[in-house]
Amino acid sequence: MYLLQFDWWIVLEKFILIAVIVTTSLVVAMYSTYAERKVAAWLQDRRGPNRAGPFGLFQPLADGVKLFMKEEIIPTASSSTLFILGPMLAMITALMTSAVIPWSWTIDVAGRMVPLQIADINIGILYIFGVVSLGVYGIMIGGWASNNKFSLIAALRGASQMISYELAMGLALLAVLMLVGDLRMSSIVGEQIANGWNVVYQPLGFLIFFICALAECNRTPFDLPEAENELNFGYHQEYSSMKLGFYLFAEYIAMFMSSVLLATVYFGGYDIPFVNEAAWGNYWWVGLVGFSVLMMKTSFFIFLFMWIRWTIPRFRYDQLMHLGWRVLLPLALANMVITALVVLLLNNK
């Protein structure tokens, strides 16, 4: 009978949490498209979308409706199963990252302590790596299934780019793991709340991680897989209607997740610097404050992503590989070794 004593509330709790977080990610991604167009316009002395609703706020909805209404074309020469699987995978892998991210403080709901994190698994960072690596399959399958030369080239580029930059990204994160000594996302944030943000101890690591995050999200200056002017939109060239929408959407979700990750791993997550929020208790509004703080940090990074996109031109392919293998990888290695030495010396004292 003891085995049956399962805490059923946890199912409801997690279910609600998942629903809220997935919805939030989708809404943020939706409005990222709007923000991207607005930021692009502002940086170029234009006004941006302002016709649909006040300040053009309904523009993402209009775009979504437009994408749904478009004719859906599956090329005859494509392998249709993979063709449909491509955008699905891209979307799923983009959304999966959110599972291990601690969104805010633990709150007290009618006597139950509810951590605002879907799963606090003890291999949080590893899980994120796994999911991020899976992200390349959306691009690869889509590019391959299209049966189009441009798409295939773009898919190959995407794959090699992601593999190259994942190495440096992993090594940059390893240095953080040495400081924290735990793979759990919650303890990474907890450590930063106690000892100060990781960006202070790991400025180089942060820079490497940020550049790699740009490459992993296929954002400019590393947007070679979709290079408009050389590959005709790259891997999603043959896609139309909402399948194309899924690809574009997945990209914005990936950008959101990368920003959340940057804020969580290097900028203290939901922590307000120099304020001891833990003393405020476990009220629901403390959770809300923590979540808003995380969102503010995230918005800053999203803006940074866009700001870079509308400033820097695209890398050439050999420059991209040069930067990844011959600059970032040695730098990340050096960063890791130095961090390891410092940690070792300090712990032996």
Binding site: W42, D45, N50
Partner: protein, 181 residues
Amino acid sequence: MQLTKRSKQVERKPMTIWEMLYLPSIFKGMAITFSHLFKKRPTINYPEEQRPFSAVFRGLHILNRDEEGREKCTACGLCALACPAEAITMEAAERQSGEEDLYKEEKYAAKYEINMLRCIFCGLCEEACPKDAIYLTQTFAPANYGRKGFIYGKNDLLIPDPNKDPEGFAKAKGELGKEKK
């Protein structure tokens, strides 16, 4: 080889370590784009705001009336003859007794059409008119969904009666003409 004095020799010396870092120049570029966030935008929100035109702007046509509100046009056809784009067509009619308060002279235009898709807004019709009946205003033809909508008839072109609708008359005479639905 120097062909002109304006050409500049491109420097091809190797980059310094500071330049090879790239990051300083990237930050410089980002500072430039960021400064554009606060610049004035030259775009005008068109239907709500309108760009001011000069007094000699040649826009949509109007058919004029005299002070008593009678149509000035006598359908002589000189404007149609002057028109280089052949945009103007008209049909003349004779004034009947009892219509003296509607038309100024014995002959008037029963039908007067300007095809705004053909019109090049050169203003030659205005110059050709011996009766001061046609003028170019400071508005332009608004967008339309069909070609038919751009053929402006007498209803669209005729200026409001100064006695019955002084406000509309002043508006049409001034900067803004009427807008077609």
